[in-house]
Symmetry: C2
Subunit: 167 residues, 2 copies
Amino acid sequence: MDVQYINPFVLAIKRVFETMVRTKVRVGKPFVKHDPCASADVSGVIGFSGDAAGCVVLSFPISVAVQAASKFAGTAIDESHPDFADAIGELANMVAGNAKKEFHGMNVSISLPSVIIGKEHMVSTSRSAPRIVIPCETDLGSMYVEVGMSVEKPTAATAAAAAGASA
Amino acid sequence: MDVQYINPFVLAIKRVFETMVRTKVRVGKPFVKHDPCASADVSGVIGFSGDAAGCVVLSFPISVAVQAASKFAGTAIDESHPDFADAIGELANMVAGNAKKEFHGMNVSISLPSVIIGKEHMVSTSRSAPRIVIPCETDLGSMYVEVGMSVEKPTAATAAAAAGASA
């Protein structure tokens, strides 16, 4: 993916976690994923499509996911709570939706999220559509966000969106 | 989700696995997911959006995923092979894309796939957007496909697509 599109996701992670989870996020240097990252226990996966196709995956250790879901929900919920997955899915949805707003002039819409729970799972690398990993430190602990995005037929609108995104 | 939209996914699973993996698929009765299903080792997750938002998750035990990826790739590849995730992701992409074709009159596009590998992970249920599980028996072993779909503002086109899908 074109790295100039990554900034909207960095901004979206900060905005969503600071307003909805009330935790500061310190974003490390994004990098192209060549090998599987550190394993995660909870991943919220959401896709987007339209003028650009992509995906956003929020990956957490269980302790960070439980704290984030609880702060988001405003009440203590653990991974067995029936609202836990919806909380994590909604965070993924908000990050994707918030980033999307920065792609002015591009018609992009968001899929339904899926939430994976499993001790030490890996989100695989893709040779055909490499992903960018955004490492994040929060007051709750570490997490990482990965983003894949493919603009198959750049148009004047997508070029303008990319220019705006990197501004 | 409206169960009348499930038939295109059933047809798509059969078509994709019979043509691309060269294995017959016997589809069991789809059901609404209330509890997490049997755990999986490999899941290919893809979203779609536009006139309908949704997601498709193909979930496999490792032995079935390795066989399916190998037959799809035309050469033996296991979960550590760099093309393994792309093969599973492409199967998810093809199932979603093939089903989409049945939604005549609806403008729906497909996201990039994500592939999760981790022993005995669960794809969580969602209270806000319940998923339909399509249990599948193949010559390679069992797998299941789950589908979520939300048509937020039904239009004449989506009504026609639903009627066509259930015909």
